[in-house]
């Protein structure tokens, strides 16, 4: 599968995928994790988060898992990364690493002159 055609990811999508990498999370946990991962730079509103989750679900990058009931007896839904989503995240990370490597190379060339 060619992941590159889906890149680059928006910052919000990148952080949502990254947040789901270690374990499934429900909506609020994703929000908190994204804020923490981004050093409070990316603060998702509920509307933005669920708009993004809808598109990620449709694209098959994440999937829903039931997480049992919350305190009010409502079914709690959590989201987890799929293999496709993980592949996309890896591809985006590799793309960014390559950008960093290119930048570092050029910077070091400049310093050597």
């Amino acid at each position: 599968m060619d992941y590159d055609e889906n890149l680059p990811l928006s910052e919000a999508v990148f952080f949502i995928l990254l947040s789901l990498l270690p374990e499934p999370k429900h909506g609020y946990a994703i929000m908190k994790d994204v804020e923490s991962l981004s050093d409070s730079r990316v603060s998702l509103s509920t509307g933005t988060l669920y708009g993004a989750l809808k598109r990620l679900l449709r694209a098959g990058w994440v999937q829903r898992v039931e997480e049992g009931q919350d305190g009010t007896g409502r079914e709690r839904k959590a989201y987890t990364l799929t293999q496709l989503g993980k592949g996309i995240l890896d591809a985006e990370t590799a793309r960014m690493q390559s950008l960093v490597a290119i930048t570092q190379k050029r910077t070091s060339e400049g310093e050597a002159l």
Partner: protein
């Protein structure tokens, strides 16, 4: 729960109703839970954080909602025009009696015009007053019945036969007001001041737009029925023009009866057959209206160089026939996005 949090949560749940149907069904409840969790956490930090976060949530909502509508419309309309046309293709008026009632307006008007013409038959100045009035009443009576029927259909929240009657009554009202206004103006007695005249015209236009809009919400087949009601009355008005002085072509007005029956048959075809039958009914209906109008227009003796009203009137007739189905092709998907049904 704290009263402030309770109110904020309730306010947010009202706002989530603004999302497209599919989206709020899938995520609405979850969003409300997450919003509340977020607000509770922020309140523990302090009131300033609570209101700042609340503002950030609300500020982003219009764009988020509009984006979802845009995507939902893209999704629905992206399925293609054939999907929009063929959706609910099994629809038809099941009850034969309802279908027959729906067909009545053009037949009644056609027979009314033909019978009235038979009674009057000669130039109005040359016949006794009672004969003129009897003929006039016979011509106008079906219009009155259709007007009352249209009103009844509105009161009964549009039964299956109601769309055609409401459409016919709406167009009948427009033509009636226009005829009366012009008659009085011919005698230098304008019915009302030009300002009120314009207000009435705008109100009638708004009324027609609402009729089309509401029926378009149900789909092109329903809106098409309203259009058939419009077009049947607009087409029949051609015959009334032939009987007017100085033409006095009561012989032409006799054709109104068979034409009315043909229109009624086409409406029956539209209501009871499949989509192919509906398209044929609309096409034949339009052709009949055009032929009738050309016949009637042929007796007009317009001064050399004066602009012909044929093309504008044909545009009105065709527009009346097509406005419903076209509006319905747009209206039904819009309803699907907003209401999900």
């Amino acid at each position: 729960m704290n009263q402030v949090l309770n109110r904020l949560s309730r306010f947010y749940s009202i706002l989530t109703v603004l999302y497209p149907y599919g989206f709020r069904q899938e995520f609405g409840c979850e969003m409300q839970i997450v919003f509340l969790e977020k607000m509770v956490a922020q309140k523990e930090i302090g009131a300033w954080n609570l209101w700042r976060t609340f503002w950030k949530e609300i500020r982003g909502l219009p764009i988020a909602i509009l984006t979802e509508y845009w995507l939902a419309f893209q999704d629905t309309f992206g399925r293609g025009i054939m999907f929009l046309i063929t959706e609910d293709k099994s629809w038809r008026i099941e009850d034969r009696r309802d279908a027959i009632i729906a067909c009545l307006p053009p037949a009644m008007v056609g027979f009314g015009i033909a019978l009235g013409a038979l009674v009057i038959w000669e130039p109005w100045q040359t016949i006794p007053h009672w004969r003129l009035m009897t003929g006039f009443v016979i011509m106008m009576l079906p219009g009155l019945v259709i007007g009352l029927g249209g009103l009844w259909a509105l009161i009964k929240r549009v039964p299956p036969w109601g769309h055609i009657w409401i459409g016919a009554a709406g167009m009948g009202l427009v033509l009636f007001v226009k005829t009366i206004a012009e008659e009085r103006a011919d005698f230098g007695l304008p019915m009302i001041s030009p300002v009120i005249d314009n207000v009435i015209a705008v109100m009638l236009l708004i009324g027609i737009a609402v009729l089309i809009g509401v029926s378009a919400w149900q789909g092109w087949r329903h809106a098409g029925m309203v259009s058939l009601g419009f077009a049947s009355m607009a087409g029949m008005a051609s015959f009334s023009m032939a009987t007017a002085a100085p033409f006095n072509r009561y012989d032409l007005a006799l054709i109104a009866a068979p034409v009315g029956l043909m229109m009624a048959s086409l409406i029956y075809l539209y209501l009871r057959k499949g989509d192919g039958g509906r398209v044929v009914a609309i096409l034949v209906f339009g052709t009949i209206n055009a032929i009738v109008f050309f016949i009637v227009a042929s007796i007009w003796d317009l001064p050399e160089g004066s602009p012909s009203p044929v093309i504008p009137f044909l545009i009105v007739l065709t527009g009346a026939l097509l406005v419903g189905p076209i509006a319905g092709l747009v209206g039904r998907p819009v309803r699907k996005v907003i209401q999900g049904s």
